[in-house]
C-alpha cells in the first residue's frame, strides 16, 4: 500500500500538530497507523481568515462565517448530516465542535472541527463527505488562508492537509471524503468548488463524488 506508506513516513518525522502530507486534488491517503491497524478517531479541522478588502478603507475586513458540515452516506444515500444546527450525528460517531461565526486569526489553528470516531460509525455508513459553505454569502475571493486538515485525534498528529486555492467566485467547497476501504478507512481530497449556503444546496454537487 504505497500511499499508506507515505503517511507513515511523513508523520514519523513530525512533531505532533505539525504539517502532514500536503494533498492535491483527487489524491487519496489510507488512514493507517504506523504499527499496522487503522486509526480510531480523526478530526477534520477547518481554518480560514477573512481577506482584507481593497478600497477606500484598505485594511477593513468583513466577518465571514464559513461552516463545516459532514454528510454521512450509505450506498450513495444521505443518512445523516452534522452541521451547526445538528452538532452530533444521531449515532454519536460524528461530532461538530461548534459553530464559529467569524473565522480565526488565520494563525493555523482550526476554527471549526468535526470529530469522527471511525470505530463507532454505523456499519451501513460507507462514506462521509466534508464540505465548507460560506453562510454569509461571500465568495471564497474574500477568504484567505483557508485549509482543511485531518488529524489523528488520539495523538494530535496531522496526517494530511489540503489548502484551498484562494480567490474563486464560489461560495462552497466540497473538501474531502472519508470512505471505507477494505477493513479500514481512506481519505480522498476532493477540492471541488460549488455554490450554496448550506449543505442542502450542495447535494447535487456532492453526488458525483460518491
Amino acid at each position: 500500500m504505497e500511499r499508506g506508506q507515505r503517511v507513515v513516513d511523513v508523520s514519523k518525522g513530525n512533531a505532533p500538530g505539525g504539517p502532514g502530507v500536503n494533498l492535491t486534488k483527487g489524491q487519496a491517503i489510507s488512514l493507517e497507523k504506523k504499527g499496522g491497524g487503522t486509526l480510531t478517531a480523526v478530526r477534520m479541522g477547518l481554518g480560514w481568515q477573512a481577506a482584507p478588502r481593497r478600497g477606500l478603507f484598505g485594511s477593513r475586513t468583513r466577518e465571514i462565517d464559513l461552516d463545516a458540515s459532514a454528510v454521512l452516506f450509505a450506498d450513495k444515500q444521505p443518512v445523516d448530516v452534522v452541521f451547526f444546527r445538528h452538532l452530533v450525528s444521531d449515532d454519536g460517531s460524528v461530532r461538530h465542535t461548534g459553530d464559529n461565526l467569524v473565522g480565526g486569526a488565520g494563525q493555523g489553528g482550526d476554527d471549526e472541527a468535526i470529530l469522527v470516531d471511525l470505530q463507532r460509525v454505523p456499519v451501513h455508513i460507507d462514506q462521509i463527505v466534508f464540505t465548507v459553505n460560506s453562510f454569509t454569502g461571500q465568495t471564497f475571493q474574500e477568504v484567505q488562508n483557508a485549509f482543511c486538515r485531518i488529524v489523528d485525534e488520539t495523538n494530535g498528529e496531522e496526517l494530511a492537509r489540503y489548502t484551498l486555492d484562494g480567490g474563486g467566485q464560489y461560495t462552497a467547497q466540497i473538501m474531502a471524503k472519508v470512505h471505507r476501504a477494505g477493513s479500514g478507512w481512506q481519505m480522498t481530497a476532493l477540492g471541488n468548488s460549488a455554490n450554496g449556503r448550506t449543505f442542502q444546496d450542495l447535494m447535487p454537487s456532492i453526488l458525483p463524488h460518491l
Binding site: 500538530g17 491497524g37 478517531a41 480565526g104 482550526d110 470505530q119 456499519v123 454569502g137
Partner: protein, 653 residues
C-alpha cells in the same frame, strides 16, 4: 440604500432570490404561507413552518429563535402562487412572553443573499397580539413586490392562519407548537455538558487495537483548536447545591464548576489486550462522587440512545435496500422465466442478512459494555439515585445536604428491555410532575380497570413524595395534599402514619381553596422579597422549606379561581421552591378546553405503569418509563419515613 418601510408601504424587488432576516428580542416562530391569486392559502401543505420547513422556493427554520434567516426564491414558487406571506408568532410555554407588547419590536429585513438589504421594516405598535403578519410578497404585472403588513392577532397563530382562509388552522398551529416545544412534558431535561468527546471511544479502541487503556492526557491534540473555547460554558452546568441553613458551609465557589472538572480519580485498570476495559463506577468527570455518578448515568443514557440509533438506522437502510432489490428482481423480465430471478432475490436477502447481522453485532458489543457498566454503577448509587431494592436504603440516614438529583424511575428501550437507565432529574425540581392516571395507550394501562389505575397513580405519587422527603435534610421539605373527595386515604397511609404531613389532606372545595391560597401567597411573598432584594423582610413564621403540593382527583373540587391559582403555581412556583405533583387524568379536565394545555405541557408526565412516552434529548427515541417499585413485602418505605419523622422531631426541638 435600504428603504425603511412603514406599515402598509410597498416596494419593488430587484431580485427574486432573497434572504429575510428577522430579529426579535425573544424566540419567535417564523412561518410562510403561499396564497393563490385571491390571497387564499389552499391548505396546510401551503404553509412552511417549523414542522414542515421547506416548500418550493421557501425555507424557514425548524425552531423558535430570536434571529431567523429565511431563504426565499420567488422564481421557484409554483406559478399558481401569487402571494407569499411571512408571519411571526410567539411560541407558548412557561416563562415565555404571551404578547408582542412585552418584547422588543421585531425587525425584518429583505435583501439578496450576497448583497445589501433592499428593505427593512420594524413591526411596531403591537400589544396583546401573539402572532403577526410581518411581510407580504406579491406578484404585480409579472414582477414581485414586498409590502410591510404588520397585522397582529391576539388569537395567536391559529387566528392568523384562519384569517388567511386556512381550514383546520388550529391543527396546524398545534403542530407548530409541538415542533418548537418538542413535547416539554415528554423530554427529560438538559443533559449535563459532556467533557469528554466520546465516552466509550477509548474503550472501543482498546478492544480492537489492543492499545493500553485510555490515556488521561490526550496530548497536544486538545490544544490544536483555536484559542477560544469552542463550547462556551453551559448555563446548565452542574451547580453546587444552594446554600441552606443548618447544613455544613459549602466553601465551593458557586460558579467554579462550569470550568472543566478534574479528571475522575478512580483509576481505570488498563484492559487486557483484545478485551474491553473493566467498567468502574464513578468513571466520569465531576467534583464529587455524586456528580461523577450523575454524569456517568447521563453518559450511559446517551450512549444507549446513540448506539440504538446507529442500529435502527442500519436496519432501516438494509430493509429499504432489500425492498428495492426485490422490486428490481421482480420487474426484471428475465426473472419471469422460471427460477432465473431466484439468485437475485437470494443475493438481496443475503446482503440484508449480512448487514443486519453486523449491525446487531455492533449493538450487542455496546449493550454488553453498558450492561457491565450498569452492574457496577447501580450498587454504587447513593439513596437519591438508587432503586428502592438497593441495599443503600437499608442503611439509610437522613442526609445533611440536598442531593443533586432524584431518581424518578427507570428507562429502557425495546432492543434490550433488561438494561435499565436510572432516570435522574435535578433537584430542586425544575418543574412539576404529573402522574397520569388516565388510560393512556400503554399496554399495561389497558389491562387495569379505571379505579385500580387511579389508586396505582396515587400510590406512585406518594412513593415519589416519600423519596423527596427522604433525600432532603430534615425539615427542608414539606408536603401538602389536596384530596377533595378523600378518595386517596389508602394511598396516603404511609405519609399519614409517619406523621410527616403537617396538616391532614385538604378536602372539599373549601379545603382546596385554603391550601391554594396559602401557597399562592407564599409564592407572591418570596417573589416580592427576591425581586426587592429584601429576603430578610419575609415573615419569621414563613416555612423556608421546599413545598410539594400533591393534587389528587383534579379538577374535582376546583372552581375557576382555584384552576387559575394552580396554573400560577405551576408557572411561578418552581423558581421559589413550590412544586406540583398532579395525579390526574387529562380527560377529566377536558371541560376546561385548551386553557389547561399550558399546564399539562409544563409538567413532566410520568405514569403509574410502564409506558413508552418519554423522549431522550438527543435522538428522541420513545423510552419506556417504569416507575420505581418498592419490592413486594418490603417495608423499606415505612422504615425510611420513620427515620425522616424521627430526624424532624430532633431538628424541631
Amino acid at each position: 440604500m435600504t428603504a425603511e418601510l412603514v406599515r402598509g408601504q410597498n416596494h419593488p424587488l430587484p431580485h427574486t432570490r432573497l434572504d429575510i432576516r428577522v430579529s426579535a428580542g425573544k424566540p419567535v416562530v417564523a412561518a410562510a404561507m403561499l396564497g393563490d391569486e385571491a390571497g387564499r392559502v389552499q391548505g396546510a401543505e401551503w404553509v412552511a413552518h417549523p414542522a414542515q420547513p421547506a416548500l418550493p422556493g421557501i425555507e424557514v427554520s425548524r425552531q423558535a429563535t430570536a434571529d431567523h434567516l429565511l431563504a426565499v426564491d420567488l422564481n421557484a414558487v409554483p406559478a399558481s402562487v401569487h402571494r407569499v406571506t411571512v408571519l411571526l408568532a410567539l411560541p407558548m410555554g412557561p416563562g415565555r412572553p404571551v404578547r408582542f407588547g412585552a418584547v422588543a419590536a421585531p425587525f425584518v429585513s429583505v435583501g439578496p443573499p450576497d448583497g445589501d438589504e433592499v428593505v427593512s421594516y420594524t413591526v411596531t405598535g403591537l400589544d396583546t397580539e401573539s402572532a403577526v403578519v410581518a411581510l407580504e410578497f406579491y406578484r404585480r404585472q409579472g414582477a414581485w413586490k414586498v409590502r410591510a403588513v404588520g397585522q397582529g392577532y391576539a388569537g395567536g397563530l391559529a387566528a392568523c392562519l384562519t384569517d388567511q382562509g386556512l381550514d383546520r388552522a388550529g391543527e396546524v398551529a398545534a403542530v407548530v407548537q409541538e415542533a418548537v416545544e418538542p413535547g416539554l412534558s415528554r423530554t427529560l431535561g438538559t443533559p449535563p455538558p459532556r467533557t469528554t468527546e466520546v465516552r466509550h471511544n477509548a474503550a472501543a479502541a482498546a478492544a480492537t487495537a489492543g492499545d493500553p487503556g485510555p490515556s488521561p492526557d490526550p496530548g497536544p491534540a486538545s490544544g490544536t483548536t483555536s484559542g477560544a473555547d469552542p463550547q462556551p460554558s453551559d448555563p446548565a452546568a452542574p451547580q453546587p447545591p444552594a446554600q441552606t441553613h443548618g447544613g455544613p458551609i459549602n466553601y465551593a465557589h458557586p460558579r467554579r464548576q462550569s470550568t472543566a472538572p478534574p479528571p475522575p480519580p478512580p483509576a481505570v485498570p488498563p484492559a487486557e489486550p483484545g478485551r474491553p476495559p473493566v467498567p468502574v463506577a464513578g468513571d466520569a468527570t465531576g467534583w464529587s462522587m455524586e456528580e461523577r455518578l450523575y454524569n456517568q448515568v447521563w453518559g450511559m443514557f446517551e450512549d444507549l440512545a446513540r448506539t440504538t440509533a446507529a442500529y435502527r438506522s442500519a436496519v432501516d437502510f438494509a430493509d429499504s435496500r432489500l425492498d428495492q432489490e426485490l422490486d428490481r428482481a421482480l420487474s426484471d423480465p428475465r426473472g419471469r422465466l422460471a427460477g432465473a430471478g431466484d439468485p437475485a432475490r437470494e443475493a438481496a436477502r443475503a446482503k440484508h442478512e449480512e448487514l443486519t447481522g453486523r449491525a446487531r453485532e455492533a449493538l450487542d458489543r455496546d449493550l454488553a459494555q453498558l450492561t457491565a457498566e450498569s452492574e457496577v454503577v447501580e450498587p454504587a448509587l447513593p439513596p437519591a439515585f438508587a432503586r428502592w431494592d438497593s441495599p443503600v436504603w437499608h442503611g439509610y440516614r437522613v442526609p445533611m445536604e440536598i442531593p443533586m438529583a432524584l431518581r424518578l424511575g427507570d428507562l429502557h428501550l425495546p432492543e434490550r428491555s433488561d438494561l435499565r437507565i436510572p432516570m435522574l432529574v435535578r433537584l430542586p425540581l425544575e418543574r412539576g410532575l404529573w402522574v397520569d392516571s388516565g388510560r393512556s395507550t400503554s399496554e399495561a394501562a389497558v389491562t387495569l380497570d379505571e379505579a385500580r389505575l387511579r389508586a396505582l397513580a396515587m400510590d406512585t405519587a406518594v412513593a415519589h413524595a416519600a423519596r423527596l422527603l427522604a433525600v432532603y435534610p430534615a425539615g427542608e421539605f414539606t408536603v401538602h395534599v389536596i384530596d377533595p373527595a378523600g378518595s386517596a386515604a389508602r394511598s396516603l397511609a404511609p405519609l399519614m402514619r409517619s406523621g410527616l404531613l403537617d396538616e391532614p389532606p385538604a378536602a372539599g372545595a373549601q379545603g382546596v381553596s385554603a391550601v391554594l391560597a396559602k401557597l399562592t401567597q407564599r409564592v407572591d411573598l418570596v417573589q416580592m422579597a427576591v425581586r426587592g432584594g429584601a429576603a430578610d423582610a419575609l415573615p419569621p413564621d414563613l416555612d423556608t422549606a421546599q413545598q410539594l403540593l400533591i393534587v389528587n382527583d383534579f379538577p374535582h373540587g376546583f372552581d375557576d379561581r382555584a384552576v387559575t391559582q394552580l396554573r400560577y403555581l405551576a408557572d411561578e412556583g418552581p423558581a421559589v421552591g413550590v412544586h406540583l405533583l398532579m395525579v390526574a387524568d387529562r380527560e377529566d379536565a377536558s371541560a376546561y378546553g385548551p386553557v389547561l394545555d399550558p399546564l399539562w405541557r409544563s409538567l413532566l408526565r410520568i405514569t403509574p405503569v410502564p409506558d413508552d412516552h418519554l423522549a431522550d434529548p438527543w435522538v428522541q427515541h420513545a423510552w419506556t418509563y417504569e416507575p420505581p417499585a418498592v419490592p413486594e413485602g418490603s417495608d423499606v418505605l415505612g422504615q425510611v419515613l420513620a427515620k425522616v419523622a424521627e430526624a424532624r422531631r430532633t431538628w424541631r426541638r
